[in-house]
């Protein structure tokens, strides 16, 4: 964020409450960025500084509250490390320095609020370079223990010498963001972690892969094994775990009872499994738990779901499950920060049991989620529709034969039956999707008989919530020009997502009984009404 953008945002905090940002340095350039980030964090606040040169008195004799943040430099612990005083000839011993660091650390421990330590390089005050290195690391350890650490790049010696400001102007934004984060977390640490299941709790999709989902400590299960272990440790510190999934309850429970699971069903206070928007499920959970949404953290792998929750419930912190295993350490670090607590009480330890009892039998809600159309527009989705002949139909057949959830009728096809269909004049269409997040590959297959009956329609669950299915049908209808479409629909034990879509096509309400099987006829006008809006979200190419 640049200065002018920060200035505009900061206006929303013009009359917000203040908090003390205590430091020995001049931080006035930071004010506008701190106000802007507090607005973004849904907790508008303005910082006020101490009178110049009064940090030490403030720490010893001042009044502190939990919203206070202290920005500390090495020379707040040891004044002789201040670059502006030069490198003193009269050096204290290494041991003396260590004991003074410990003394300030204890003092800070007893002050409410939190501290942020700026990892400035220190002047080489000892002849033994090993002592200088140890000193810097000892200070860093104190900083980390007391709150959070700003990396050394944020310090500008040039700026400090010239103006007395310690922070590099170009990194004021990043520094402010971290200060606001520390203040918010310290004032209200996270209490509830709501986690998605498919491709988060385990690798794979329970509705598609069944018992083949992976969460054991080997191969592709590793990140999920580590995640589950981490959640177990959070739970042991009093964090409440809940699962939310676009699945049937039975499917979700099947996954949670998988023998390779580290976490067990009882580790969760609630398993919210339905096809309702996740935001409405989380809101309902917050109501039942009687906890504020600002203490909720939501983890999902799908950016569309994360955005839906973030739009509808801005108080909830959303965190994306990492795509690459190498990003797992940063991911767990971030979650650890959000749930950081110094003391764990007896009540913390038994919290899950208490809440699970009171939540027994909460039903998934029927409610509207956020309108994510604007977000979908930003994704720049490109749908490429192809019509492969029998020789290029391998991927389509694979998709048809392994997809359970978004599957029109569960009918499987092999190359011979497909050839038979071709002989009677049927046409096979496939679609690939690309968007801002990358290429999703071939994600849809559709077989249309000569008379316009859709015999097969399957779509990968990877691209749910993006309205691909609606856009595809709308485009196909324009392409083929039939006055009406017939869908050979059959309810199966796993194709609830298809039923949801059929309801949309028929203009039925959520929860309506819906058709069970047979031909569903949809007039061109109905299809147009239900799907044309979705088509606008895509750039469609036919190859």
């Amino acid at each position: 964020m640049k200065f002018l953008e920060a200035t505009a945002l900061a206006q929303q905090a013009a009359t917000a409450p203040t908090f003390v940002l205590a430091s020995s340095a001049n931080l006035s350039a930071l004010e506008v960025f701190v106000a802007a980030h507090s607005v973004l964090a849904n907790s508008p606040a303005r910082m006020v500084q101490l009178p110049f040169g009064t940090l030490q008195q403030h720490l010893r004799f001042g009044a502190h509250d939990t919203t206070e943040v202290r920005l500390l430099m090495p020379w707040d612990f040891l004044p002789e490390l201040d670059w502006r005083t030069g490198i003193g000839a009269d050096r204290a011993s290494f041991e003396d320095m260590l004991s003074r660091i410990s003394a300030l650390e204890s003092l800070l421990d007893s002050c409410p609020g939190t501290s942020v330590y700026l990892d400035c390089p220190i002047p080489p005050c000892h002849h033994d370079q090993r002592s200088n290195e140890s000193l810097r690391l000892r200070l860093l350890a104190a900083g980390a223990r007391l709150g959070s650490v700003l990396p050394s790049e944020m310090f500008s010696l040039d700026n400090y010498c010239a103006t007395g400001s310690v922070l590099s102007p170009r990194l004021l934004d990043a520094a402010a963001s971290e200060i606001v984060r520390c203040r918010t977390v310290n004032a209200a640490p996270g209490k509830v972690l709501v986690t998605d299941l498919d491709n988060v709790m385990w690798r794979g999709v329970i509705g598609e892969d069944g018992a083949n989902i992976a969460c054991a400590p080997n191969g592709r299960g590793y990140p999920h094994f580590i995640y589950q272990n981490f959640l177990r440790s959070l739970k042991e510190s009093g964090v409440i775990l809940a699962a939310v999934s676009r699945n049937d309850v039975q499917l979700a429970e099947t996954g949670l009872n998988h023998p390779d699971m580290t976490l067990k069903r009882d580790d969760f206070v609630a398993v919210l499994a339905s096809y309702q928007p996740k935001s409405s499920q989380i809101e309902s959970l917050a109501r039942h738990l009687n906890l504020g949404l600002e203490s909720f953290v939501f983890v999902d792998d799908n950016p569309v779901e994360l955005h839906e929750v973030q739009s509808a419930l801005p108080q909830v912190t959303t965190v994306q499950f990492p795509v690459s295993v190498n990003d797992l350490p940063e991911f767990t670090r971030r979650l650890g920060q959000l749930f950081s607590r110094v003391h764990v009480t007896e009540e913390d330890l038994s919290r899950t049991d208490l809440y699970r009892v009171s939540l027994a039998g909460i039903a998934p809600t029927q409610a509207k989620g956020a309108d994510i159309t604007a977000f979908l527009q930003q994704l720049a989705m490109r749908l490429t529709i192809r019509e492969p002949g029998p020789e290029n139909s391998a991927r389509a057949l694979q998709l048809i034969n392994k997809t359970n959830q978004f599957n029109l009728n569960g009918q499987r096809l092999n190359i011979d039956t497909l050839r038979d269909h071709f002989q009677t004049g049927a046409r096979l269409f496939t679609a690939t999707l690309d968007d801002r997040f990358g290429a999703h590959g071939e994600i849809l297959a559709c077989l249309v008989a000569r008379d316009g009956t859709v015999e097969t329609l399957v779509m990968s669950c990877r691209v749910f919530q993006r309205q691909v299915e609606s856009a595809f049908l709308a485009h196909l209808s324009q392409l083929l020009g039939y006055p009406r479409f017939s869908l050979r629909y059959q309810r199966t034990s796993k194709n609830e997502p298809m039923l949801q879509f059929v309801r949309v096509l028929l203009g039925q309400q959520e929860g309506a009984p819906g058709p069970s099987e047979g031909l569903i006829v949809i007039e061109q006008a109905e299809l147009s009404a239900a799907c044309d809006g979705s088509l606008m979200l895509f750039e469609v190419a036919v190859q």
Binding site: F3, R170, L172
Partner: protein, 81 residues
């Protein structure tokens, strides 16, 4: 050029509200009471942040005492990038 000047004007307005009622050529250390040495530090920080610049010539920065000279300095700094 115009865009840079517009941004700089907004930046002055944000830091020194009195300048909103002033013509650009009249804005200087002498005509804006809030523009003291502490505010000068914030002005430089705001410029570096807004234009993604890094100034290392402290002497030259101290000579920026009116809107026009700030404008010229930023223009040169951007041209050097």
């Amino acid at each position: 050029m115009q865009e840079m000047e517009d941004k700089l004007t907004s930046l002055f307005h944000a830091l020194f509200p009195d300048t909103r009622a002033m013509r650009a050529e009249t804005i200087s250390v002498d005509s804006v009471p809030q523009w003291d040495s502490a505010a000068h530090v914030n002005l430089i920080a705001a410029i570096e942040s807004e234009f993604d610049l890094f100034f290392d010539d402290v002497e030259a920065l101290l000579e920026l005492t009116d809107f026009q000279s700030v404008c010229r300095y930023v223009q040169h700094a951007l041209a050097r990038q």
